[in-house]
Amino acid sequence: MANPLVVTNLVKSFNGRKALDGVSLDLRQSEILGLLGPNGAGKSTLVRTIMGRVTPNSGEVAIFGRSAPAGDNVAREQVGVVPQEIALYPLLTARENLMVFGRYHGLHGDALDHAIQESLSWAGLAERAFDATKQLSGGMKRRLNMAAGVIHKPKLLLLDEPTVGVDPQSRERIYQMIETLRAGGVSMIYTTHYMEEAERLCDRIAIIDHGRIIASGTKDELVRSTIGDKREMVMVEKVPSLEAVFLHLTGRDLRE
């Protein structure tokens, strides 16, 4: 069976500046691949290219073995998207938002009703189903934002910083939601700036900077390949954190 996602040598330039410079990666079945990188490194461009919203100058995106050029929504029917922004209709209720996006994904009738109930329950919003989205708390909006991205039960999910601005409790709930999806066989690309989040959730990590994947592998592989023996010299009592790996690779300078 083909991998859920294979990205091969993607190149994309904006006004002569390369946002993606030969990015390749693959995502395996039921795997969460963490995509880490400083601001402006090319994470969003990569995610948007996988979504089909950016046309690459060269390279290819294949979803479940099928080539998926920009705009090919048929190839992306099994893809779900959870954007960083709360991409919902604030005046509509939680239920109505799920209904709208469910319909956009081709659901209707009993299947739609069932999917809405399941999504509300999954997101812990069943009791707030009839509240206007703008009245929900930040954490609830985040969870609803995720629910709208998985209403059609995608096999491949793109999560772009899904825990930005939420309290620890909501974050814990979101982790549980993601674990449930993984248990259900969903493969995920997960972008985040929180290293402990990546350590906890991701099976593998890909670090992107200046439009290139500069390292990838499991956390242990990354530590071995970057800090390696220095571990014993620098960290006496503790294994180096993923954050240390990240800063070692991308530097400490503020990007913006």
Binding site: G52, N73, I86, A87, L88, H152
Partner: protein, 408 residues
């Protein structure tokens, strides 16, 4: 899919009280204001206020003032002198003053060039009012002819002798006698009739309240444009919130999305015009039921063109704030030039021709054909064709501009 986009638009509108008010309540309020101001004027002729300064204070000048006062088109206010009349005009309380010169009572009316040194009437005016001075000037000439016939006969005798040879003493005596009889006629009889008999028949316009149809269409189309541009801005909200990206990652393509938005805006426009005209029928006796077919045709195409115009404005703009500025400017400009605020038939011919470039002038012409001229439906072919043509152009441009949101 398009049905879902339309349903989403209506669900959002239902929850947005401000948009709801702007779409359905504010247009009715404006329409009612216009209709109340202008609709009620049919029962009485609008009168022009004229200040009269009688510097002559002769019997003849008093007769002239009385004759002018009897004119239904004029509201005469006496002023003691030209300076006080000028002050009133400067204050804006009247647009025109007529000064009857000293010596008017003793000067013979002449046909042809005026005699050197003859006293002349003076008119003081506010040039911003282009109509009142012309009305007063015309009424002065008419009053002299009709209201003071003895004076005209005397002047006429002199002209006749000058150009046709001297009258016999008998002729002169008879004419003088006739002039005296006319002078002694009761004032009412002097005022009766004009130089030629004139029967006036209204051949166009609804019998009950003709101007209502004009303002119904004018205000309706203007608010349709405001609503369409505001609702089209939902597209920009979706861009800014990332919702558009999410939508376009589903089965919905940009073409389907714009088509769905178009159908929603069209249905909103149709609903808005129906509410407006039903209100007009219920409150201002607009004859809607007897013109349903024409109303349906014009409402369908007008709402279509306004919907595409709203999409065009949204796709031209980068942000909501930009859309707000552009649409306010565009809608007010084309509403003024297209005749929503001021009837096109009162504009100069040049401006009337130029305004045909604007789609809303065709929409208004169509509605006026239906409700005012009560013209057959075949007269709607041209407005309908032009409106559909503009709708196609607007939608095509909007679709092209929307490519920037589609892919980068």
């Amino acid at each position: 899919m398009i049905g879902n986009i339309v349903r989403t638009g209506w669900m959002n509108l239902r929850r947005d009280r401000a948009a709801w008010m702007l779409s359905f309540v504010v247009p009715i309020v404006f329409f009612s204001i216009f209709a109340s101001i202008f609709g009620g004027r049919r029962s009485s002729t609008p009168r022009v206020t004229v200040l009269i300064v009688d510097e002559d204070r002769s019997d003849r000048s008093k007769r002239l003032v009385n004759a002018l006062r009897a004119e239904s088109a004029l509201k005469v206010i006496d002023k003691a002198d030209a300076a006080s009349a000028e002050a009133v005009i400067k204050k804006g309380d009247a647009a025109v003053a007529l000064v009857i010169p000293k010596g008017f009572g003793t000067t013979q009316i002449t046909f042809g060039p005026a005699k050197a040194g003859a006293p002349s009437f003076r008119m003081l005016r506010d040039p911003s009012d282009m109509i009142a001075p012309q009305v007063v000037s015309g009424m002065l000439q008419k009053t002299l002819f009709v209201g003071m016939p003895d004076m005209m006969i005397t002047g006429g005798m002199d002209a006749l002798e000058k150009f046709g040879g001297p009258l016999t003493p008998q002729q002169r005596e008879n004419l003088q006698k006739q002039a005296t009889n006319l002078k002694n006629l009761p004032r009412q009889k002097q005022q009766q009739g004009d130089l030629v008999k004139l029967d006036v028949t209204d051949v166009v316009g609804s019998k009950d309240n003709p101007i209502i149809a004009f303002y119904g269409a004018g205000v309706g189309v203007m608010f349709l444009l405001f609503t369409a541009s505001g609702a089209g801005g939902a597209l920009l909200d979706e861009v800014e919130s990332g919702t558009l990206d999410r939508i376009l990652s589903t089965r919905v393509s940009m073409s389907k999305l714009l088509a769905g938005k178009l159908v929603y805006l069209w249905s909103l426009g149709v609903a808005q015009l129906i509410v407006m005209f039903v209100w007009g029928a219920l409150v201002f006796r607009l004859p809607l039921m007897s013109h349903l077919a024409g109303f349906a045709i014009m409402t369908s195409v007008t709402a279509l063109t306004c919907a595409t115009f709203g999409l065009l404005l949204a796709s031209v703009s980068r942000t909501r704030a930009q859309l707000s500025a552009i649409s306010t400017l565009a809608v007010l400009s084309i509403s003024a030039l297209g005749g929503s605020m001021f009837p096109r038939f009162l504009m100069s011919e040049k401006l009337q021709r130029a305004s045909l470039v604007l789609f809303n002038s065709w929409a208004l012409d169509g509605y006026i054909n239906v409700f005012w001229r009560e013209a057959p439906l075949s007269t709607l072919v041209a407005p309908v064709a032009v409106l559909i043509g503009w709708a196609v152009v607007f939608f095509f441009i909007a679709r092209q501009l929307a490519r920037r949101w589609e892919f980068v």
